[in-house]
């Protein structure tokens, strides 16, 4: 049975008609014509909730009854007053001046109520669902159809600067927790009619709304279909945040490398969509997923495109060096110092020997101690409140490093190396890849500690083996490096000036490749 359902939309974001999984039973329960019976039916599900409000209305001087059901504060009280209750009562509160006969629900829906009516239903479970979504259910005595009005009224936070991805020259808006707000932020940047929004409802109990956005006519249809396939296959209780979805749709769960990118930045998301990729927005999460992703995209930052190409190229090169350092530096140090002293210059060997005199641990253990300590410090820094967290990170590192050196537990060279490594890993724009590097680094250090330089090389080969086998939604993870595509190299290590980037990345196999040049 299909769980989520989507609806293809152009400009109108209508709420899809429900086909959500049953709340508890397998068969539909239908509303009756009698109001009191309907209320009884509803109460089966909502009587336990103290915050569900039943607002009774008496129409036609008491001849006909109606009820509005909603959740306090989840639905917008004011909107309900102004746009539903007021018009109804104004029109039908008194019997005078009204045509004889009971009020017809269609009349209410189409001509009286000013709030937006998004659906009509005669199924009980849909009513309940809508109530918990923050909408208002209107039941009229004499009709077995309930009207559902959109009245979301919860408060969301004001947007902040994107905290995880600061940018020097880019816009400072970020996504927040409201799905529709997020969609809007993307729409403001892409005003093309090709921008497609598809909605899903995922999670049996959370019924989280998920929107998928891409440029039709540009994005590769096969990837779109594949993504659709994977999303609809998700069958779980809860989707609390976008990270949950990532773990369901990624290609390979056994690797350290992430295959899905995420971002808090609307500009980055919009740029990705324009490239031909697909964005997945999840309600209640400010982090938007972007697929498909290949390795090089984790190392690109939006700032690369806002600055001039010379600067961007330079910074990118530094970033690549930083990655190499963060992966290999401690391992090289351990392997050369402990195994192959013949390969380093004499002065360096003497220096290293002098600084390591009296240290009780072999270089490998020293390195592992320092690295683990650093990881713990880093994690601690994240958990603590912002004001203390930063200080702990810096001070902790310095103080512990200094104290450890003075106590003679680690050598000063090791402290410097570990610090340099840590700083290098901070320069990677995408945090998820940073974590991968940290994990890999341990593996490589260990390999170096057991087999020296041979271990480092073998570890490198293994990592490459893993990378080359990875695919993300059918694309090779290591593009554009392997298979080598000359055209895409314009945006890989270096970044050529804007006028030179005429085509979208060929890696993505988009439908429409031209970015610049003649319009078609």
């Amino acid at each position: 049975m299909r769980i989520g359902k989507k609806e293809d939309n152009g400009q109108n974001d209508r709420m899809p008609s429900m086909a959500g999984k049953e709340i508890d039973s397998d068969h539909d329960v239908f509303l009756k014509h009698s109001l009191s019976s309907n209320i009884k039916l509803l109460n089966r599900y909502v009587s336990k909730d103290a915050d569900v409000v039943f607002r009774f209305l008496k129409l036609l001087d008491g001849q006909q009854n109606a009820v509005l059901v909603y959740v306090d504060n989840l639905a917008d009280n004011q909107s309900i007053q102004q746009h539903i209750i007021a018009p109804i009562l104004k029109e039908f509160g008194k019997a005078k001046g009204v045509l004889p006969g009971p009020v017809k629900i269609d009349r209410l829906k189409d001509s009286v109520v000013t709030a937006r009516c998004v659906a009509e239903t005669n199924k009980l479970n849909e009513c309940v669902l809508e109530i918990f979504k923050g909408n208002t259910v209107f039941i009229l005595d004499g009709s077995n159809r309930a009207l559902i009005f959109t009245t979301p009224g919860w408060k969301t936070r004001d947007q902040d600067e994107p905290l995880g991805e600061p940018s020097i020259r880019g816009p400072r808006d970020s996504f927040i927790e409201s799905l529709q707000e997020n969609i809007v932020r993307v729409r403001r940047r892409i005003r093309d009619s090709g921008l497609t929004v598809k909605k899903y409802s995922l999670g049996r109990r959370t019924k989280t709304e998920v929107a998928v956005m891409y440029l039709s006519g540009v994005a590769n249809q096969k990837i779109v279909d594949e993504l659709d396939h994977r999303i609809t296959k998700i069958d779980t209780d809860s989707i609390v945040a976008s990270g949950y979805i990532e773990q369901f749709i990624e290609d390979n769960i056994l690797t350290v490398f992430p295959q899905v990118q995420y971002s808090e930045r609307p500009d980055k998301t919009a740029a990705a969509i324009l490239e031909g990729r697909i964005a997945i927005l999840v309600d209640n999460t400010p982090f938007v997923l972007i697929v498909p992703t290949v390795f090089s995209m984790f190392i690109q930052a939006p700032d690369d495109y806002y600055d001039r190409w010379i600067y961007s190229t330079f910074i990118r090169c530094i970033r690549y060096v930083a990655i190499l350092i963060s992966l290999f530096l401690p391992a090289f140090y351990v392997s050369l110092i402990s195994f192959h002293q013949g390969l380093i210059p004499t002065r360096l060997v003497i220096f290293a020997a002098a600084t390591r005199e009296g240290i009780p641990f072999p270089a490998l253990i020293e390195a592992l101690i320092m690295e683990v300590t650093l990881e713990i410090l880093r994690e601690a820094g994240v958990r603590l409140p912002k004001s203390i967290g930063q200080a702990v990170g810096i001070v902790g590192g310095l103080v512990i490093g200094e104290a450890a050196t003075n106590a003679g537990i680690v050598s000063p060279v090791m402290v410097i190396i570990v610090a340099l490594t840590a700083v290098s890993s901070f320069s990677i724009p995408q945090y998820s890849i940073g974590i991968s590097m940290r994990i890999l680094r341990f593996f490589i250090i260990f390999a170096a500690g057991v087999f020296g330089l041979y271990g480092v090389v073998m570890a490198f080969l293994m990592v490459t083996a893993n990378l080359t086998k990875l695919r993300s939604f059918g694309l090779d993870y290591m593009s554009p490096l392997a298979p080598f595509r000359m055209g895409d190299m314009k945006d890989f290590l270096i970044r050529l000036p804007m006028p030179a980037m005429k085509r979208r990345p060929r890696t993505l196999k988009n439908r429409d490749e031209k970015r610049q040049g003649d319009e078609d």
Partner: protein
């Protein structure tokens, strides 16, 4: 499929945990040997003494904690008949296993060089002890061991001091060009004779002159003095930025110029059974000192005169060197043989065993062309 993955994974884990890190030796456990001296054991014919200079890293750089050490090095000596065994013996006397991967300087004393087969020595070091190919070899006039004991003034240890002296490209050609272990190996493999730096110890360590090691028995033949070494350096084109002083003919005053060998060429001429060589050298220099009171260095006539005199003087010195090489030592250390081989390979293959004799009989004509532009950056006086 899954079972294979798991078993593969497990195997790797097992391997890593069982691994004993066989090759791990921490850097502070090393006994770094940076210099080696070979002497003949006094009183014995067969034995010789090897002295190794170990580095004490704490003396080079004081550690944060622990005791302060002043001496950056220490020497140990062992005697024996076999080089290999003697070197291995060092394991007994030192708390750290000697590590020769950073050996910089090898000094062989005169007596030792006269009796041991230097090629075999070089070969053993390269083959088994991981000695770097660019360790420098010197022959010392007196006892080699004392060279390693002399407290250096500027550097941390004698080995570094000697190393600095060997590798600096200096302005004098009185010091033979540095020869490394690798260079010796290459030349000995071809059976060529070799000229090696000579080191002597008077008030201070001096590197001047050259030692000739014959290419047949690989033993020391003798020394070239400073003048002869100069000639040899010019012959080989190794003299960069050296200088030459002459007595000016007319005034008898000393004139000194810098000397840069621009081109040097040795051409073999093979006619019938006789081999002769033509050496052409083009050199350049500026006048640095002119003690003459009468002549004006801007005068081109004067300059031309100087040029001729210097050319002649150089030729004379080179002839002296060749004399020593050909007559006294019968050793071709100037690679005349290479020029023969590069011209006529088949002939070389035939005569190479008799080369020393053929070389000593060969006619060598030397032609030096010296040019000068005058003073460096001042005019007369």
């Amino acid at each position: 499929m899954k079972a294979k993955k798991i078993s593969a994974f497990t195997l790797i884990i097992i391997m890593f945990t069982c691994a004993a890190c066989w090759d791990r030796h921490e850097v502070e456990e090393l006994g770094l040997v940076v210099a080696m001296a070979v002497d003949k054991e006094s009183g014995s014919d067969d034995k010789f003494t090897m002295t190794t200079q170990f580095v004490n890293p704490n003396g080079v750089r004081e550690p944060e904690t622990g005791f302060k050490d002043s001496k950056a090095y220490f020497n140990l000596s062992r005697s024996g008949e076999s080089i290999f065994e003697t070197l291995q013996d060092f394991d007994i006397v030192s708390s750290r296993i000697p590590n020769f991967e950073h050996l910089n300087i090898i000094v062989i004393s005169q007596e030792a060089a006269k009796s041991i087969d230097v090629y075999r020595f070089v070969h053993t070091l390269l083959a088994f002890w991981e000695v770097p190919r660019n360790a420098y070899v010197l022959i010392s006039e007196s006892e080699a061991r004392s060279l390693l004991s002399r407290e250096p003034e500027l550097e941390h240890m004698p080995a570094f001091e000697i190393d600095r002296m060997v590798t600096t490209e200096t302005g004098t050609s009185k010091k033979q060009f540095k020869r490394s272990l690798g260079d010796l190996a290459k030349d000995f493999a071809a059976g060529s004779s070799v000229a090696v730096q000579k080191v002597s110890f008077e008030e201070s360590i001096a590197l001047k002159g050259a030692a000739i090691i014959c290419g047949k028995e690989y033993k020391l033949l003798g020394f070239l003095d400073e003048r002869e070494t100069e000639g040899l350096n010019w012959l080989n084109g190794n003299a960069v930025l050296s200088s030459i002083s002459i007595e000016e003919k007319e005034s008898g005053n000393v004139i000194n110029t810098t000397l840069n060998i621009k081109k040097h060429k040795i051409e073999p001429k093979i006619k019938d059974d006789r081999i002769s060589f033509k050496v052409s050298i083009i050199a350049e220099g500026d006048i640095t000192e002119n003690w003459s009171e009468t002549s004006d260095v801007m005068e081109s006539e004067f300059l031309r005169g100087i040029e001729v005199q210097i050319s002649d003087e150089m030729e004379k010195r080179i002839y002296d060197t060749l004399d020593a090489l050909q007559k006294k030592f019968k050793a071709d250390v100037a690679y005349f043989w290479k020029t023969v081989r590069s011209t006529d390979f088949r002939l070389w293959e035939e005569i190479k065993d008799d080369w020393d004799d053929i070389f000593s009989e060969a006619d060598i004509e030397v032609n030096v062309d010296f040019h000068t532009r005058g003073f460096h950056n001042r005019t007369s006086r």
